[in-house]
Amino acid sequence: MNKALPYQDIQTVCFAIAAVVLPFAAFVINFLFLGKSKLSGWVSTVAILVSSILSVIVFTRVWNVQQIHVKHLWFIIGDNTLYTGILLNNLSVLMLGLVSVIALPVHIYSTAYMKDDAGYSRYFQYLSFFCFSMLALVVMDNLILLYAFWELVGFSSYLLIGFWFDRATAVQANKKAFIINRIGDIGLLTAIIILFNQYHTFDIAQLFKDGGLIASSTINNGLWISGTTLTPVVWQYIACIGIFLGVAAKSAQFPLHTWLPDAMEGPTSVSALIHAATMVAAGVFLLGRVYPLFNEAELTTLAVIGCFTAFMAATIALTQNDLKRILAYSTISQLGYMVMAMGIGAYATSLFHLVTHAFFKCLLFLSAGIVIHQIKHIKEDNHLNIDPQDIANMGGLRKKLPLTFIATLIGGLALIGLPLTSGYLSKEGILVQAFEWAEHKGSAYMLLPVLASITSWLTAFYVARLILKVFYGDMHLLTLHPGIKIHIGDGGWRYKLPLVLLSLCCLFPLFSLNPLSHTQSWLLYGLSSYKGYTESIFEIIVPVVVNVLSLVVMYYAYIIYIKQSIWVSSQTGLLYRISFNEWYIDRFYNCVVVKFVLALSDMTFWFDRKVIDGFVNLLEKIGVFIAGIASWCDRYIVDGILHLSAAIVQAIGGFARRFQNGKVQYYLFSMLLAVIVVFILKILIWN
């Protein structure tokens, strides 16, 4: 396979393998030797540290330089030889770097965050195992192994969601997560099998490279043709649907997204790493891997679903009061963006957004983790019965937690996509391309970018709401429970360092030296299918309009949630009148827009809980019902036939016995009668 591979490349490959395997080694060490030891956190952290350094080295060596593909015989089944191998191209090294770099601060953070938990070591076992699976997932070169790690990633997520397995809700949530993921897995597996059937290989490089097997297969006369294999074209659609199911389940797209908000039952650091930054992005990554498979119509469907998901999740996020749930819905929303971007052909931008989103969402979650942790401290110190995640209880925390506040602010702004942040670059890129795409496709498609823009404003609103409610104003707890002691702070360096690191990554310079134009980002040029866009009017209009309106929305949010302070501070004068007038507008908004939006939000949330979740539950109920029927059949029909045959045996036996009444004359009579009957029958029938 790799006879002619130069030394440098072999080294690169070794590095990549090491980067993948190190977390696994940490897992094994923790599992076998460090049962309850606090050392396990450091073992995992060091592993991921080395892993991330190696990843970065690999990244620099491969990015835009070459593709390295190494494979080794795994097993032979029939005529098929399966290889296990590593495919390092721009996409995989980008993900490799991303995952390990994000994982590092989360590990550091976790050593502090989980230090008092009884399952400290177990936590790091799971975490390392997750990192291993995720890193392996991104570098694997064939679909079977991809699927394998895809599921292992889901499995470690299952373990981590149910980390506190004595909590009923956590267990419920992890079961739900796994089963919904399993639905996606089945889709993916089916798709893989279909592809295998069609192309007789699992090799990603062979399948999806330029001019690869996928590219050279055609659809003709309702047949899907590649080489000598002809399959009805419907199976191509099913393969795409299967992959989409996989993507939807993993990346929480409509209608398989309901597990993600529930997944917040896990530790917050886990949410940051898995359910915000990395694992949920695996779906988008998969789309990137198999991108050539999708044709125009399928991509459009993808875009529509992504867009709808983004919008729906954003509206739901508007009214949530649980800190982590808001973030979870925002994650869904952002993932929707990415899927939509994939759908509209903005392949590179989608992945770009994936990367930027990973950083800022991770940052947001870690910050949220600190906030929740501190509120929990308050709760425990004062023996209160409150939900530490409820933002209604918070407020005014910016003075107590300055660093956290700044980090959240940066993260929030990036999430909204305001200039100077990384989020701006990627999000505007998506929006611009969406408009261009819609213009190209026709006016009806304009709905998509418009909806995306609205989503963007909704995002601005709920982010502002979140930040305002948590960090501004007064501590609600104090008003509710006066006299409680509050001794909280940002925490030690193990909290601060990750926040600082990630905050830096959320700013523009990491991705593009030009803070205002996404087209200048190096990332986009590295991803093969980025074509480069012609200058269009949208390049200017969209960012401006979107951002200005975002600011306005944020301001409204400010007015809505902090408005009392405005009234109090400015009773008279121009400011008051403006404020007053704006209050009219605000009331207008309040009456019409906000109420409407809130109502919409409630409705979608209701829809989400009752209909979609209800549907999932219904499926479960149907499953259980069918199970009941099957069980009944088994007991009464299938087994019944058996018992019936036993009864028949007894009946025949009973008949034969009836002659045995002990009277010898009766016996004789029976015998003679039988002889005569036989004789008569013989005469009648056989003659």
Binding site: N661, K663, L672
Partner: protein, 101 residues
């Protein structure tokens, strides 16, 4: 002239009578008599047919054997019936039915 057919008819009648006796009578001895009737029907046949078997005279010979054997059987049967009477104080086969399903 008594033809072969007449013999056969008589024997058939005897046979049927014997059969009827066997089935209907409520006394073991009578049943034995019925059996004797049936045997005699057969013996009658044998003798009648034997007339046409001039070389071996097997029919007549057979008849002799049959008569002897019938006597032996009857002797054994009577002995058993006697025993039954000792045990059950009846020889009605219908009443002797301890052995049954």
């Amino acid at each position: 002239m008594i033809t072969l057919t007449d013999f056969m008819i008589v024997s058939a009648v005897l046979f049927c009578t014997g059969m009827f006796v066997i089935i209907s009578k409520k006394n073991s001895i009578q049943i034995l008599i019925g059996i004797e009737l049936m045997l005699n029907a057969a013996i009658l046949n044998l003798v009648a047919f034997g007339k046409y078997d001039r070389i071996n005279n097997s029919g007549q010979m057979f008849a002799l054997f049959a008569i002897v054997l019938a006597a032996a059987t009857t002797a054994v049967a009577l002995a058993i019936i006697l025993n039954v009477y000792k045990q059950y104080k009846t020889i009605d086969p219908d009443k002797i039915k301890q052995l049954k399903d």
